[in-house]
């Protein structure tokens, strides 16, 4: 699809219904055929996903924690119903502000959709043709518990049990020897999504914690510490023992720490803002990508989306951070020349209810938009906006199962058969620009 027509897919069903291998010939565009037949040769894809090759593709996952208000993120300003059930928080159409809620930024005029007024960063990504908005993502029988719904997104299973989908991706591609730097999460604990049987993600809140704090106690501590922890495995320690395993991991930890700290210490090519938690994390990710770490998947999190009361300011503030961070990160990648290698995917565990509540906020809801960012993305608004009239007891009905987005990311971006990872076959959503995937 030519980049010049970002709106061409608005409100059209973009899932290729009923793709089967038998039906491919002649009826399906060649790029679907290519990826579908790719599934038949798992070995080929394994070869093309050898870890340690710098030109390899990278996935950055951005999690908006707490349940982001999708209707005030991608604003359906076309709808009277939207203004009616959200009298004090509905965002007005572009140029027509609704009091303190303000006016939306234009996203898709034909569809009557805008972006939250604070999402100027996202708006420029959209104008540059780097933003894909997938509307109405969710799953059947939505769960409104933060924890359960988050686990459902992380495991890609409705019972929310077992390992994470990215963990399973690594398990399936690592040939039994996971790369300890394959998956890195910024934050205290690594998200369930990245845990596999073999793959155990590395996580750290900041590079300053990914080191031994004892060296700050006294200058004389560092040298003995280094000689202890950088020795690796001495010849007289039997390989295969617990002690040798620990000595090797200790050396790995020192080397990883060196690499990450060196990467982050470097001056960035763009200026990341200081007062932005998400930008702080993406700066670390950008620095690690620039330094060609072997990491395939990075994970960052922005919390605070559980906006039950007086949400205009708090949600607006989150939106600003989110849009600003996404934009500067993309600028950084471009300045590095790495933008074509990096796909960024954004999700939240659920959206919020259609109607506002009595406290000027919104309660836990269901479907919400996902975002994909990068030059490989099919730009514009994809999929159908869920109806604001045909509700399921006050909640939106999802129009796209989020696992079809996962399936596309796995197959088309990470070149991995998705069925083995997701446990069953989901129809891929055509969210990439086939030219840019070549």
């Amino acid at each position: 699809m030519p980049r010049e027509e970002p709106n061409a897919y608005s409100r059209r069903l973009f899932l290729q219904q009923g793709v089967t291998l038998a039906s491919i010939a002649g009826t399906v565009p060649w790029f679907v055929q290519q990826s579908a037949t790719g599934m038949m040769h798992p070995l080929d894809s394994a070869v093309s996903s050898l870890a340690g090759v710098p030109e390899e593709r990278i996935l950055v996952v951005v999690q908006l924690g707490g349940g982001n208000d999708g209707l005030n993120t991608v604003v359906p300003y076309y709808s009277d119903q939207y203004r009616k059930v959200r009298p004090s928080i509905a965002i007005g159409a572009p140029g027509r502000p609704n009091g303190g809620a303000g006016a939306a930024l234009e996203l898709d005029q034909e569809a009557g959709l805008g972006l939250h007024p604070q999402l100027t960063g996202l708006k420029s990504l959209h104008d540059e043709g780097l933003l894909g908005v997938i509307q109405g993502t969710g799953y059947p029988n939505p769960n409104r518990s933060h924890f359960t719904s988050m686990d459902i997104w992380h495991t890609a299973r409705h019972d929310a049990k077992g390992n994470g989908w990215l963990g399973r991706y690594f398990d399936n591609t690592c040939n039994g020897t996971p790369d300890p730097e394959g998956a890195i999460a910024i934050g205290g604990t690594a998200p369930l999504a990245m845990h596999g049987d073999m793959q155990k993600p590395v996580s750290f809140e900041s590079e300053d914690l990914f080191r031994w704090l004892g060296q700050d106690l006294h200058a004389s501590m560092k040298s003995p510490y280094d000689s202890i922890n950088r020795m690796g495995m001495p010849d007289d320690v039997e390989p295969g023992t617990q002690a040798s395993f620990l000595m090797r991991t200790a050396l790995d930890a020192q080397l990883s720490s060196d690499r990450i700290r060196k990467a982050v210490a470097q001056k960035t090519l763009v200026n990341y803002p200081n007062n932005n938690g998400l930008a702080r994390q993406l700066r670390l990710v950008g620095a690690m990508i620039r330094n060609e770490m072997r990491t395939r998947v990075y994970y960052v999190t922005l919390g605070g989306f559980d906006t039950h009361a007086n949400q205009l300011n708090s949600h607006g503030n989150r939106m600003r951070q989110f849009g600003e961070a996404m934009k500067i990160f993309q600028d950084d990648l471009k300045a590095q020349g790495n933008d074509k290698r990096v796909l960024t995917m954004v999700f939240s565990e659920f959206g919020r209810r259609v109607a506002q509540n009595a406290s000027g906020g919104t309660d836990h809801g269901t479907a919400a938009p996902m975002f994909l960012v990068g030059p490989m993305v099919r730009p514009g608004v994809l999929g159908q906006h869920p109806s604001l009239e045909n509700l399921d007891s006050g909640d939106l009905r999802h129009t796209v199962d989020f696992r079809s987005i996962y399936a596309s990311v796995l197959e088309d971006w990470l070149k991995t058969p998705s069925q083995a990872v997701l446990g069953k076959t989901y129809q891929k959503a055509e969210v990439f620009n086939p030219e840019a995937l070549k």
Partner: protein, 498 residues
Amino acid sequence: MPESTLRPLPDRDFDFWAAHHLLSRAGFGGTPDQVRALSQLGLDDAVDFIVDYEELPTPEVGGDFQSNIMRPATEAETAAYRRAREAGDEATLSQFRMRRQKRQVADRQQIREIRKWWIERMIETPRPLEEKMTLFWHGHFATGYRAIEDSWHMLQQNRMFRDHATGNFGNLLFGIIRDPAMLRYLNNNQNRKERPNENFSRELMELFSLGEGNDYTEQDIKEGARALTGYSYRDDSFVFNERLHDSDQKTILGRSGNFDGDDFVRIILSRKVCSEFLALKLYRFFVNDAPDVPTRDQRPFLKTLAKKIRSGEYEIKPVLKALFKSRHFYMDTNRCAVVKSPVQLTVQTIRCLQTPVRDLTTLAAANELMGQSIFEPPSVKGWDGGRSWINTSTLFIRQNLAIYLLTGKRPDVYDWQLSGTRYDPSILLASLDADARGRVDPDEALPYLCRFMLGDIPHPSRLESLGEFIREHDGRIDGDRLTGVLCLITSMPEYQLC
């Protein structure tokens, strides 16, 4: 020569270091004085002292928690909710949701308090084996708070594990099929005659008693699920819903009858595989958790252990006594052969070195960062344990946790203030001879400290690194210099083993 029997260790071999090994594994370690006292009891009395803990006092660490934060809705509330829903009364429905969210917030606060209470109990208890076995059963019958959202049920379950900590495995199984937290966690409250839910039946065999794919078939799971129909709970108590129970004939593991849940458990206990499965779990927890267990050398011992379990009809106490007295338990290959769990690392560091407890909230947070948030196991499978605890990021957290305990330096980049009490490490060297000026000889102190903290004779290079550090500091090992040495020893990869 591998030991395949439960033949006891000769008493003369039960020295200070054997007692040290026993206390690390059957508990959370102890100070040099505690280890010495234990070794002086001799093997039999030492093991009995640890296992027959009922004589000892329980720790006073509070434990008053509220039972009804998450109480079920009253009939009046249910009716009002239904009316509002039918009328589309959004304002009332929203109120209901708000109240529920408030209760959830209060309950999440309570589970955090309960978590801190248990960590403190493990630190303070004179009965370490009781807590250690409670932790074992928590990992074995893993139930996660997040999925059941009822802190009181988690606490009830924890008390059940503690009551039966070294009791009879059968009673634990009878208890777990009546436990509200587990019934909810494995959806057995939805297991009804007309619509059986197989979740509990499957995990009961796969994870709790027989092991994955051992001895049972998918058909046994289906039949077992029928036996468990109607096992549910109301508020905080088990209820057996006779109406929902399938009382017809079932065939489970080759036996037929009108079985209920208890019959199902008895059939499981009659299988040899059950004793073998339990033997392996105990072995990996207490003896050796190397990933390729069981090796050819270990298999005969495991068979002996399983036989001991069967002959004692699943009484845990005699099994533990025999295990802790066995030569096999003390073999060189089984010393320092278990990776400390995060909880073990935390509690053992405090108990052995007598550091201040510092802040329990920070300890709980550190445990979560290291991958073991108690009451929140990652899945019904529990924690994988062993090497899965260790990766490059958890290793730094582990080293920094020790720094925090020893110095008060918080493992949190935004708050580097030293907090609270200054640690006095002098008790660790109290047994060594001091010269006229009250100083101990580093050449004697360093190997002793290493072995005390690592449980093994240190690699020569370790002593060189520490020796250099001491030489740089006037050749003295006292005060802050001693704390510095402890910081370095806790940073050794070998410190993660016990």
